[in-house]
Each structure stands twice: as structure tokens, then as C-alpha cells.
Symmetry: C2
Subunit: 348 residues, 2 copies
Amino acid sequence: MPPRRSAHDRAPSQVDVARLAGVSTQTVSRVMSGQQNVRPETARRVQSAVEELGYRVHAAAASLASGRSRILGLMMVSTDRYSSAALAVGIEQAAADNGYTVNTVAVRDHSSTDAFFDAFDRLERQGAEGIVLGLPVELDSPALKVRTDRTPTIRSMVSSMQPDAPLAVDQREIARLAVEHLFELGHETVWYVSGDDYWIESQQRREAWEQALRERGLVAPPVIPGDWTPESGYRAGRTVAAIPDVTAVFVSSDEMAFGLIRALHEAGRSVPDDISVVSVDDIALAAYASPALTTVRQPFEAMGRAAALRLIEYIEGLYPEGRGIQGTVPDVHPALVVRSSTAPPRER
Amino acid sequence: MPPRRSAHDRAPSQVDVARLAGVSTQTVSRVMSGQQNVRPETARRVQSAVEELGYRVHAAAASLASGRSRILGLMMVSTDRYSSAALAVGIEQAAADNGYTVNTVAVRDHSSTDAFFDAFDRLERQGAEGIVLGLPVELDSPALKVRTDRTPTIRSMVSSMQPDAPLAVDQREIARLAVEHLFELGHETVWYVSGDDYWIESQQRREAWEQALRERGLVAPPVIPGDWTPESGYRAGRTVAAIPDVTAVFVSSDEMAFGLIRALHEAGRSVPDDISVVSVDDIALAAYASPALTTVRQPFEAMGRAAALRLIEYIEGLYPEGRGIQGTVPDVHPALVVRSSTAPPRER
DNA sequence: AGTCAGAATGTTTGCGCTCACATTACCGTA
DNA sequence: TACGGTAATGTGAGCGCAAACATTCTGACT
């Protein structure tokens, strides 16, 4: 067991370093923040004092003095979904590259506004200079507006900074890619298994799916409800299996597709011979489903990076001395990945 | 676009609240931290002033003044693996329940000590009072010891506070459960597809697997290397398929099992008729593999909660006024989940 | 040698809060 | 009515750092 470091023996401070290096604290501060106008020789002296003492800048003190926290807040639903994890990785990377820290709060019940605002307030207390919303939320509630007016917020393409910024992957494009692929194979219509409709992504895909059918003079069949989980996909699969004549299904996530295909197989329907399935995400396991999933890939990490970069860009813009961010906000687009879960409809 | 909140118009502070409520700042402080010895009537006045102004405690200032940050650091590998995400959720929840915040840093290259120490130092700068290591690392390097001596650290069952604390799931137990299940079905030996051997989990499972074979007087066949990814599982599957007489394989993650089974099927070997497969994790998709995976479940969320709770417990112990933590550190155990990827060996 | 611009460094102040201690209000009791 | 004790509130100081401003040093040019 290590020596219990009691609460009172303090870590070395700027003063200690300054004394040891024979300079003022201000010079230490300058060296630590990599400013110009320090003689190399002086900087070296300070550096070695820093190392000797194991000194580290006290972020809270720096934040208090400078008014800048360099903290990004990330609100997530408590979930282990692949997409959330990948998004978080991208955000973390972009933040780290620009000297920002990420504070994550998990919102357990995303349908509860109280839980949402609690989490938001926690991030504001921490001094978050910007917040990435990794969960579904209506951005135009008044209570939220109060908060986004003081803390810039970004969520997919909807942001409190630039409502029109074409940031995230266009969910309508995803649906179009999926549906069009199925029509090109010769299917006469396409059914849709939704995600959790709290999520705007799910809603937008549904709308785009409906519209694609409408454009072909078709009436959209009823939406089969899901909630992103494989279990809900399985239930949807049982529903689909009970409907005759279904030959093509657009499923709003790969994970649901696994469940759906399982249910279809159990009902004696073959994928893709009887029914073609296109899903969304292209998770690592999609290629190893049976059959391998045809799916619309979303570049989650790039999306996370883009969101964080756009946010940082905005934050830095608030400060005159902003020294520009590392990396440029990339264009992110979905892409259809054709594997084995789709095929032309069986001849009749 | 919201009004660009320029860097200078400050958020309301304790002073503003105090003035509005007609009390001293100290009283505001007491109300905000929920201390006793405040008349209910006074507390109410303060509360409404807080709400009127939209006041929030400035965490950095509080941290500076009190010497307590209530920040937990979390080091993760940049990955979207299910297990990491679930672990993080558990940690976040336990932290939030006890008034702690989680700062996450992703370490891109977990084999680089530099990257590791960079990340560690970033967390120390943030004032993390304890750190959860969600990645593989040797806890007995000297450079690490310097750091764990000042910041308590926890990683699975290895912690800088109590090296012997039986905290995490016993990886040997996992291997035993898996191997024993296969022997009980009548298999004569069991092959092993490893995870990334940087991870102690993978090493320990290998050791336990070897030992289980030894106890039966068997010589362990060569380890088939993997790295947790489905792709590596697929490669392992091709290797296995090329070896005659293999009837049972213990695979160190569900995700690899997906790849392995796919490769086996492509090679004309049936699972479970020709080869039984047991994996580890029980991810949400495990039940929807073809065949559904027999696997050893790890309660990741509970593990995360346990790690965070143990850490908080220790931290609070450092402070005389520690008021006890919410929730008790649970016992976490793996459990075998039998599905369809295992069966008795084919008669010969 | 003298001048001056700019680089290098130092000094002072205050960020918003909590701690330790000082003071006041209140209540029951002698 | 005075007294003591406790509950309720206030006061002053300082946490560690960076901003703003002040000062000193350096070297190029006249």
C-alpha cells in the first residue's frame, strides 16, 4: 500500500518552481503555457525545476485566473451502443488535439427532462465552455434555450451556434441510399423498422424513406417500431415474418438487423433469398453476421471529431487571442456497403 | 444564432446571490453545499435568489479553495469495444451518485508508455483525485509508481491502494467456467484463441486454460493469437479450420467468436456439430449470432461501478470529514450462459 | 558613445470560492 | 433578569494561477 498521501501535504506550486529556478512565477507561467519571449536558457532552467519537483499546472487555478476552462462537456445516454462509443472516441481525440478536456456525463433516462437538465447543469458547474449532446433532445424548448444561450451546444446538425451548419451525416441521405439500393435490385416496395423515435435520426430516416416511396407513387406500409436493440429487431422480425409478400426491409441499425434476421430465419424465411435487409451503421460485426449485412456506413469517429472541432472553432472565436484550431472540420458522408443480406427479389 | 456571449460578461457569482438574498457569501456557500446550521427560511431565500440569477457554483473556484476536486479520471483505449463502453457507463453512474465528475482521456496507442504517461499527467493536471485505468498496463513500473503514490489508481483487481483487493471479475474463473463446460460435454481437449496479450485479462485466461488442461493430464495445444477484433477471430478461424480433430475452442471475446464461426462455416465446419465454441463477454449481440453464442458473461457495468466505488471509498477515507459513500461495493462474478454454439462432440 | 525599440523578466492584483475563526441571535434555565 | 450554551450568521484570508502593467536588459543603428 502506498503512503497515504494525507490531504494537507500539498503538491508543488508555481512558487516552488520559481524559487528553484531563480525566476518569477510569471516566467514559470509563461514557460508552462509555451509562450514566446522567454530566453531558451531560462526556459530550460524552468523545465528542469519542473521535472525535479514533478510540478504540474493546477488546472482549476489556471481556469479561475484566466476565465478559460478548456473543458468540453459530453452528454451521453447510458448505453453501450457501438455508435455512442465511437462518437465519444472521435470527440475525445479532437479535444485532446486542441488542448481540451472532455467531461462526460451519462443521462440515464433520456426521456426525462429533469435528468437532462441536471446533467447539463453539472457540466456548466464544471465550467464546460461547450457541450456536445450525444443524445436525443428537442433543441427548441425554452428551458434549454436559456442554457444554450450561455453555453454553446452542438448536436448532429442542430447546433445552438449555427442552426444551419451542415455538420453531421445527413440522415435522409442514409435512408435514400438504403431504399434506392433495394429498388435497384427490383424490389417493389420497402418496409421500415424504426429506431427509437426519441432520436431525431430515426424520425428523419422514416421521413426520407416515406418520401422515397412517395416519389415512386407508392404508399408507405406501416412503420415497424424498434428501439435500436437487437431484441427489438427480433420482435420486428417476427412481425415481418407474419406479413406475406414482404421482400425488402430497411432497418435503422445493424444491431436490430441481427435480431430481425434471426427471427426471419426461425420463421423459415431466408435472407436474402426471400427477404432483403439493409441496415445502418456498419459496426465491426456487420461483416460477420449471417448473412453479412448490407448496410449504410456512418463514420462515427469522424462525426465525433467534426462535432468537437466545430465547437472548439466557435469557442476559440469568442476569444480575441484565439490561436486557431488543429485540424479542419471534415465533410462526413454515409456510404452504402453492399454485402450478402440483399439480393434481387425471387421470381414469382 | 444566440447572442455571442463575449468572454467578459461574467456569470453570476456567490456575491451576487448573497446581495440579492441579503446574506453573506458564506451563507450562500453553506446552502449550496447542503450544510446544516442554516435556518430553513434563510435557505429558501438563498434558493430563490439562486434561481432568479441562474447561479451555479464555480467548480474550479470551489476546488481551488477547498483542495477537493471531486474529479475521477478515466483512462481508456480509443476503442468502440462493447466492454469498454459498458465499463465507462458503470463508472460514470457510481461517480455521479457520489457527487463526482468523470474526466475521460483516450489513449490512442496503448503500447506506448509515453502516450500513457501523457494521459496520466493530463488527468493529474485536471486535479483528478483518483484514476481508473481502463486499459492494459503493468502496475509495477517505477515511473508509474511515482504517479500512483500521489494519485490513487485502480485497474481491475490491481490497485495502488490495496494490491490484494478482490475487486474485479476473476479472469481465471472465466476460463475455468468455459473450459469445464466443454469438458463436461465430453470434448477431449480445448483450444484457445487469445485476446490481445497486452491485456492482463487475456494472459490470465490463458494461464487458467492451460492449468485446467494440465489438471486433466493434457498438454495445452498452441495458443491461437487474436486481438479482440472480429477480424482476428476470422483469421483464427481459418487457422483452426486447417487443423484436423479440433472439436472445442475457447475464444477470448464474443466479437472474435463471430469472426471465428464465420471462418469455420466457410471452411465447411459446422458450429456446434463439428466444433463447439465458448466465448467471453455476453454482448447484446451474442444471443443473435448464428448459432447463438455460449459465452461467459462479464457484468461490465457492475464492474465499473465497483471500481469507481472502491476508489471513492478510498478517497473519502483520506478526509476526516468524509461522509460515507452512496452504495456498497458489490461482488461481481462471471456466469456461464449456455446457448447454441456448444454441443457434445460428434461420435466418431 | 548615445539612443531607442523590442525582447525578457518582474510585480501587483484578483478570479470565486471555502476555511477558520469571530460575532450575533436565540432559547432554556437558574 | 441574567446567564450560558448552542444555533445561525458574518469576516478576513488565501488557495494557485494568469492578466495587465511596470521594469530591466539587449543589441542594432546612428
